[in-house]
Every structure is written in structure tokens, then in C-alpha cells.
Subunit: 394 residues, 2 copies
């Protein structure tokens, strides 16, 4: 797949991680792009996160180059980490011929190790030499950590007589959770849009996609979603959320697809639950309840086992802090009503087992106290997750 | 080990669960005992929890008999579950020759199935016939679910020229977490104490023991800690927290020992972390941070692997909602300082690995913003946990 007009990509191996393969990705908009980003809410923000946030602000939402490395998160690394990130940014700015604040950097990998930036800088000229519109595939592989496969999604939309494209690439796996867990996503479009509009559009898309998934409830120090618009498709600039309706739909599709792939790929997950909380007193309580279910180790292991052990789901809701009417609560798995009016129905055990055996298990709990709702996608918790994470560093 | 003076115990097999062994336990104070209890805070409270809470209130804190069953939690079972619990209570009251409200019932096992109370009632006469002071051992086995071993602890203390005993028995394993997860504990003493004093003493002991442990972050619908005092050791009645100082110390020892055994036995745990948060802005924030670390799947799998991946610990703290000074935060594992002033120290990797390889891993994080602290014991998360929980019901 090619990048949208106005973007080039490439990747190189700088030797930041032991396992073979690419580990530094480069995205360039030769004539610049308008940009908006969403970052992790974790208090321990990695050096590249604080640097890129400040750069975006200083440039007024303009980006010429994006440098992403895997193998080292450069988080909790103090002043040494800040300086390393800055040196990468500086070198890329020289090569791109732009001010330093138009270079956006992102990192993923182990926490607590200062980025060996001399390796990244040594291979940056090579990365610039390899830039091409077809470089997306290399970018998609270079940013992965424990992911099983690259994640790319695209959509098109019509705007003023021309067809615009939206192409996104992401990495995820462990630590995926609302509030932007170790997840990086870079979405490019050739649509013409200002940085402020991109901000509004991105926030909406992220809330409905990346912030509605959970692999293990942990959030990372490095998570970043960056949206870049080159405007190279032509046409008049999109000026309002209303005018951007088709763009927003395309962006929602791309982000939703990437989010689904991330949670589906979550640390060896074999099953994903889609937990919908209805009838909550407030939206906050709906999210609390969905979060408690999505992060319950007991629920997630039962999901892994394909075991319709719904008592664990209600127990998680019951400790979540959300108000529940224990007399009118209900729970459905797919089309099987398991609990109604606070008591088990006479459902067939085989029907329940079948609902829990699917790749995607839709669960709907109605708390019976209000009208608010929330929805989360969450991966199961199995042996692959334990194996992957018990010794990630070695 | 014998029960304290004034208590008898026994257990029978009523066939409530498939696997062999005892599944109904009976504790009797032939002349009655003063009592206090702490129950789960989960909104879905099991039928025996609501029934026993009401009974204790009605009897003014007097208990003659305690009936505990494994194999069925009798939770989320609606009116049918309430009636089943009441019939067990009624039958035990007839056999003990006491009012119904002096019978305390507790259940543990699968949620969503009404207790087959006819089985329990059919075997209760046999249980009464087998009562003895040495019945503690049978009681300790009959209440287990996924526990690897029975959990009994005892202590003595001097009061007015006589020696009093405190003997406790507990079950735990999955769903152990602050707010009283699927955990049952019954503590007996021959000390003379009123029900109100027992309430105060029990609350203190539970906060420092059962409410400071975590296996998987889930809390159950059935958790109960019951403290019974027969007064049969003789001596004057303990009248104040000050007078009860020696009793409180003995109770803390018994509850602390049972809590440690529960978390150590947690669903196949091979390692336990003792996470202490210091320097938090408030006690609530200290607990939030400790809770985030104790329930992080990434931290728990690293602990399982003996991997000193401390970045995951800070990442969990950073998303917990507790305020942290990222410039002055520090982290120690045992005597190894891993992070100081917000940056990694030059600790030796082998020293860190050694600290994480112990059975009990003490972790101390100082958030650098205040003086509040909190402490939690938490089990690791490994293959045994997944195997145990992926198909618990079959």
C-alpha cells in the first residue's frame, strides 16, 4: 500500500534491539504537513513524548519528519534521555532541512534505558536515502515490539470532487488500555485540514477507538497517536466538523480497524470480549464498570478458557464503584440472556459455551439504574501472555 | 491443634462439589459466643452474607453455630438463594437448640447456582454428632476451594492471670483483594470480650491483614471474616482497646499469618511482592498507587519471571491517579536502589535479579510529594493461575 500524496516513508536497522529486523522508521512530508497528536496520560512521560509535545506547540502544528524507534522507550531516563531524544530530533532536522520543532520523535521498548541515539543518528542518512511512497510497509514493521503482525489500515472519502485517502499504521500488544497504552499510531491523509481541526477530529476518533481497548489494563509512558495532513489531494480546506463529516468517518474507520487489530493481537490473545455497559447512572460509572470487567484477571482467564463463568463478570461490576440495582441487573453474551432481574435465567449451558467460544465475545450488562453506557474491547489472558511477559527483557 | 475453650468443630461431605473430600464445616459454641464480622464490599452480596449480617444484628452479636459450605457460593441467586440459605440456618438452629439468628452461615464456590440446601441439611445431624475440640483440622479442609493447603494460625496472650488462645482458620486463593475477596476466615478465642469491642478489634486486625493482600485484584460476593469469643478462659471482661492490647497483638498475629498464607497460596503463586508506597500526598493516593502496582498484569508476570523490569512498576504508579514527582521519585527492591531522583541508578543487574528471585520481594517506592504511606502483599501471575482459572467450572 502506498502512503497518501505528500508523504514518504522508510525504515532501517540501527541495532537497537537484539532480535533481527528493522528498528527505526522514518516518515517525511517533503513540503510539510499539518498535525495533531494525542499522548499518554501516564505521569511518567517518556523523553520523546515531552519533546514532541513541546515541538508541536512551538511549530504551531507543523511536522516535516517523524522518527520512530523500537527497542528502547527512553522513558524514566532523566536529563540524559531528554538530551538523547533532542539529538535525534536535531539530526533529522538537518537532514530534512527544517527547523528542529518540525521533527516529531517517538520511541517504544524497555523503560529505564537511555536511547543510544548515536546508533539512530548514524543510520538516519540511510533512512532518508531510502524514502519512498511505498515505504509504508517498512515503517509498519520497524515500529513493532511484541506484536505478532504489522497493522495497517486505510480508507478513502470524497471531498470537493476529489478522492482523499487516510492511511494509518500502528503498533500495540502489551500495556494497551484506555489512556493510550504502549501504543503508537501514525495516521496520514492528503486531505486539506488545519491543525486545530485535526485536533478536534483526532480526539473524537481516538475516544472511539484506541481509548476503548484494553489488553492488560496497563498504560505506558510512550503512547502517541499522530495525525498528519499534507493537503496534497487538493480541494478547499475543510473548515468545520460538519464539513469534515466524510473525513471523520474515514478516520474513525482507520482508527477503529487499527484498534481492533491491536487488541486482537494483544500478547497472544485468542479471544476478545466486547463489553458494553448499559443502564448506568452516569457515563463515568459505565466506564468504571466496563473497566473493571475488562481488566479482571478472573474474567480474562475465563474468556481465554471459553468458559461462560458469568459470576466473575458480575463480581467485577459489583466492586467497580458503579451503582448497580442487584434486583434488576441483566447480562447477555451474544444473544444468550444469562442473568435477568438479578437472577440466572434457565439458559442452555451449551448455548452459553458457544457464545464464549467465538473469536469476538459480545457481552452486554445492564446495571438497571440509569441510561448511561460505555463500551470496551478487551483481550483475554492466557499462557501466551504469561510467557511473553514473564521475561520480556531477556 | 485444638479449638479454644468453648468451641467445637466438625466437617462432613455433603457432595456439593465434584472433587472428593469434605465440603460442609460446622463450628459450635455450646454456650454461645460474642461475635463480630466483616463482610465483602462487593455490591453483589451472596445470600449467606446478607442473611448472616442481618442475623448478627438481630442477635446483638451472639452466635451459637457457624455452618460453612464449599462448592457453591449461593450468590446472584435471587429469592431462591435467600430461601436456601435460610433453610440451612433453620435446620442448624433446631440441631443447636438456639434461635435462628444465632446461626451464622457462609458459602464459597461458583456464583449463580442456588445452594442445594437439602444436601447440606441431610448431613447436618452427622456434623453435629461429630463435633469435637479437635475438629478444627476437618473444618480447615472442608472450607477450601482452589487452595493448595489448609490455613490455620494461632497465638496466645495473658489476661488477668490466665492464658487466652486465639485460633483462626481461613480459605483463599483466587479473587483475593482488599475489600475482602473470596476469602473466608473464622477466628475463635476463649477471651472474654463484648461484641462491640470485638467489632473494633476485628476492624483493626482486618485492615492490617486481609485488606492488605491481593492475588488478582478481584473481590468476591461472599467474603467474610468472623471473630467469636466464648469467654471460657475466665478472667474479667476486656472493656477497652487499651485493656485489649495483648489480645489485639495476638489477633494481629493470627490474621497476619492467615493473610500471608492466603496470598502465598494464591492460585499457584510462586512469588509474593510486598509493595510499600511512601511519600504520597495522601493515604488514599498511597493506596491507589499500591493497588495499581499490585494488580498490574505486567508487573505480576515480571514478578513471576523473577524479572527486575521496574519500568512496569513506575508505569503502573504513573497511571494510578496518585500524584508523583517524576523528578524525585525513587524505587528500591530489597536493598537495591533501582531509581533515584527520577532516573535509574547504576545498580548491578545481578543484584536486582537476585532481589526479584526471592519468595518475598520487598519493593519500596517513594513518590516524593508527601508523607503518606500504604503497603500491600500481592501474588505473582503465572501459568498456574491461568490454568487454574481458564476452566474453573469444569
Amino acid at each position: 500500500m502506498k502512503l497518501p500524496k505528500g508523504f514518504l516513508g522508510s525504515a532501517v536497522r540501527a541495532g537497537l534491539r537484539k532480535k533481527p529486523g528493522l528498528d527505526v522508521a522514518l516518515l517525511v512530508a517533503p513540503e510539510g504537513a499539518n498535525a495533531a497528536a494525542v499522548f499518554t496520560k501516564n505521569l511518567f512521560q517518556a523523553a520523546p513524548v515531552t519533546l514532541s509535545r513541546a515541538a508541536l506547540k512551538k511549530s504551531g502544528g507543523r511536522v516535516r519528519a517523524v522518527v520512530v524507534n523500537a527497542g528502547c522507550a527512553n522513558a524514566v531516563t532523566g536529563a540524559g534521555g531528554d538530551a538523547a531524544a533532542r539529538r535525534v530530533q536535531q539530526r533529522a532536522a538537518e537532514l530534512a532541512g527544517c527547523p528542529r520543532e518540525e521533527v516529531f520523535v517517538a520511541s517504544t521498548g524497555v523503560i529505564g534505558v537511555v536511547l543510544p541515539d548515536e546508533k539512530v543518528r548514524a543510520f538516519l542518512p540511510d533512512a532518508f536515502a531510502r524514502l519512498s511512497a511505498g515505504g509504508l510497509e517498512a515503517v509498519s514493521r520497524a515500529i513493532l515490539t511484541t506484536d505478532a503482525a504489522p497493522k495497517v489500515a486505510s480508507a478513502t472519502f470524497r471531498h470537493g470532487g476529489t478522492t482523499c485517502r487516510v492511511v494509518g499504521v500502528a503498533k500495540g500488544a502489551g500495556m494497551i488500555h484506555p489512556n493510550m497504552a504502549t501504543m503508537l499510531a501514525f495516521v496520514t491523509t492528503d486531505a486539506p485540514a488545519s491543525a486545530p481541526l485535526l485536533s478536534a477530529v483526532l480526539k473524537e476518533a481516538v475516544d472511539g477507538s484506541f481509548n476503548a481497548i484494553s489488553v492488560d489494563g496497563d498504560t505506558s509512558t510512550n503512547d502517541t497517536v499522530l495525525l498528519l495532513a499534507s493537503g496534497k489531494a487538493g480541494g478547499s480546506r475543510l473548515r468545520s466538523m460538519d464539513e469534515a463529516a466524510a473525513f471523520r468517518a474515514a478516520l474513525a474507520k482507520v482508527c477503529g480497524e487499527l484498534a481492533w487489530r491491536i487488541v486482537r493481537d494483544g500478547e497472544g490473545a485468542k479471544r476478545v470480549m466486547e463489553i458494553t455497559i448499559e443502564g448506568a447512572a452516569t457515563e463515568r460509572e459505565a466506564r468504571l464498570a466496563a473497566h473493571a470487567v475488562a481488566t479482571s484477571s478472573l474474567v480474562k482467564t475465563a474468556l481465554y478458557g471459553g468458559d461462560p463463568n458469568w459470576g466473575r463478570i458480575l463480581a467485577a461490576i459489583g466492586r467497580s464503584g458503579a451503582r448497580v440495582s442487584t434486583r434488576s441487573v441483566s447480562l447477555k453474551a451474544g444473544s444468550v440472556v444469562l442473568v435477568k432481574d438479578g437472577a440466572p435465567t434457565s439458559y442452555r449451558e451449551e448455548a452459553a459455551a458457544k457464545a464464549f467460544a467465538r473469536e469476538r465475545v459480545p457481552l452486554v450488562a445492564n446495571l438497571g439504574v440509569g441510561k448511561a453506557r460505555a463500551r470496551l474491547l478487551a483481550a483475554d489472558l492466557g499462557h501466551e501472555y504469561v510467557s511473553e511477559n514473564a521475561d520480556y527483557r531477556s
